[in-house]
Amino acid sequence: MSHDHDHHHDHDHSELSETELRVRALETILTEKGYVEPAALDAIIQAYETKIGPHNGARVVAKAWTDPAFKKALLEDGSKAIGTLGHVSRVGDHLVVVENTPERHNMVVCTLCSCYPWEMLGLPPVWYKAAPYRSRAVKDPRGVLADFDVTLPKDTEIRVWDSTAETRFLVLPMRPAGTEGWSEEQLAELVTRDSMIGTGFPRTPGAPS
């Protein structure tokens, strides 16, 4: 969902911002001192732009919805289960998958910085890294969900996972009704990034994507 933009829009600007000048200066110094190769920096950016993103998490969720044995393994040891899927095997050792149920809704935050399962969801959106979400998610999650136009039943337990260490959390949302017989590929289309953070639900069949 975040790959189809042109992020080089600043090329048209004739004036560089102070920050842009400082960033360029730092890269020049690091290059001149032989610490980094600029082409390697280009390659890092390209890898982030093409290899990671919420499509990885969506594949995992869709598989869990259709394969009970995989779901069981995923909830027992997220890293190990995902490691068995060739296409998203770079998740590292410390991924914990938490399941939403009618009784319990999970939500993930990092109050101290911006910890986020990059390998599953890509780079975090600005709101995830900004003060309003980081401050309120642990105290007033229903208020935060209202900012996303999400309402939960009054008696649903809300469990907020504050990512204070190198463990990473991925929410397994509930499978939408009306998707009986759907393939993994079809189901993956319904899985939004926010539904895997816990600030949204998957799309419902027939709704515009």
Binding site: V36, R134, V160
Partner: protein
């Protein structure tokens, strides 16, 4: 340190504002900052905990008024200066003027890129048995180190229950200060929302943190 980065439970920051179709980067320089941080970290100039500590030690007004990647940039520049990889004179001049300092893992070149796209490993062999079992009641210690810690203020002094044991991990409190990895047991500890936020708190809320063993006392 009790910095403004430790935001859990603070009021007054306003609504969360999701951006529809948000781009991965809002300015091209943001992508260069991300790449430089990843490259210099992989080359051995600093570890992830040290880089977090340098962002936390930005002056509070700078931390709160800077965009995410601006904080990354400011933290990176200061850290590289303090660790001796570049000088303030070089930053002012915009060019290298002094000989380079040797990087632990050498120059970051194209051959290194694949390596950093695999998430790092933070688990370490256990130096001692775990003190706590799943289900144990524990109290988050009332500690206020002026250095790096991952124990957020909003749980300090409160009692929670050990829910998961993640094994022994690198201890950020020492790693950030370059005092060694000092592996510690890491637990998910869950707190009742009302224990944290009082009687007016959401009765359906439970909040967990991942807590290193030195953050916890038996309760």
């Amino acid at each position: 340190m009790n910095g403004v980065h430790d935001m859990g439970g603070m009021d007054g920051f306003g609504k969360v504002e999701p951006e529809p179709n948000e781009p991965m980067f809002h300015e091209e320089w943001e992508s260069r900052v991300l790449a430089m941080v990843r490259a210099m970290g992989a080359a051995g100039a600093f570890n992830i905990d040290t880089s977090r500590f340098y962002r936390e030690t930005l002056p509070p007004h700078v931390y709160l008024s800077s965009s995410y990647y601006k904080k990354w940039f400011l933290g990176l520049e200061e850290m590289l200066i303090e660790k001796g990889y570049l000088t303030r004179e070089e930053v002012t001049a915009g060019h290298a003027m002094q000989p380079a300092k040797t990087l632990k893992h050498g120059k970051f070149d194209l051959g290194q890129v694949e390596r950093i796209m695999v998430r790092g490993k933070f688990a370490r062999p256990a130096p001692a048995p775990a003190k706590f079992n799943i289900g144990d009641r524990v109290r988050a210690r009332n500690i206020h180190p002026t250095t790096h810690t991952r124990l957020p203020r909003y749980v300090r002094g409160h009692v929670g229950v050990v829910e998961l044991n993640h094994g022994c991990h690198v201890f950020p409190d020492t790693a950030a200060m370059e005092l060694g990895e000092s592996p510690q047991w890491l637990y998910t500890v869950v707190f009742e929302g009302r224990d944290l936020w009082g009687e007016d708190g959401d009765p359906t809320l439970k909040v967990s943190i991942d807590a290193f063993e030195p953050y916890l006392d038996p309760a």
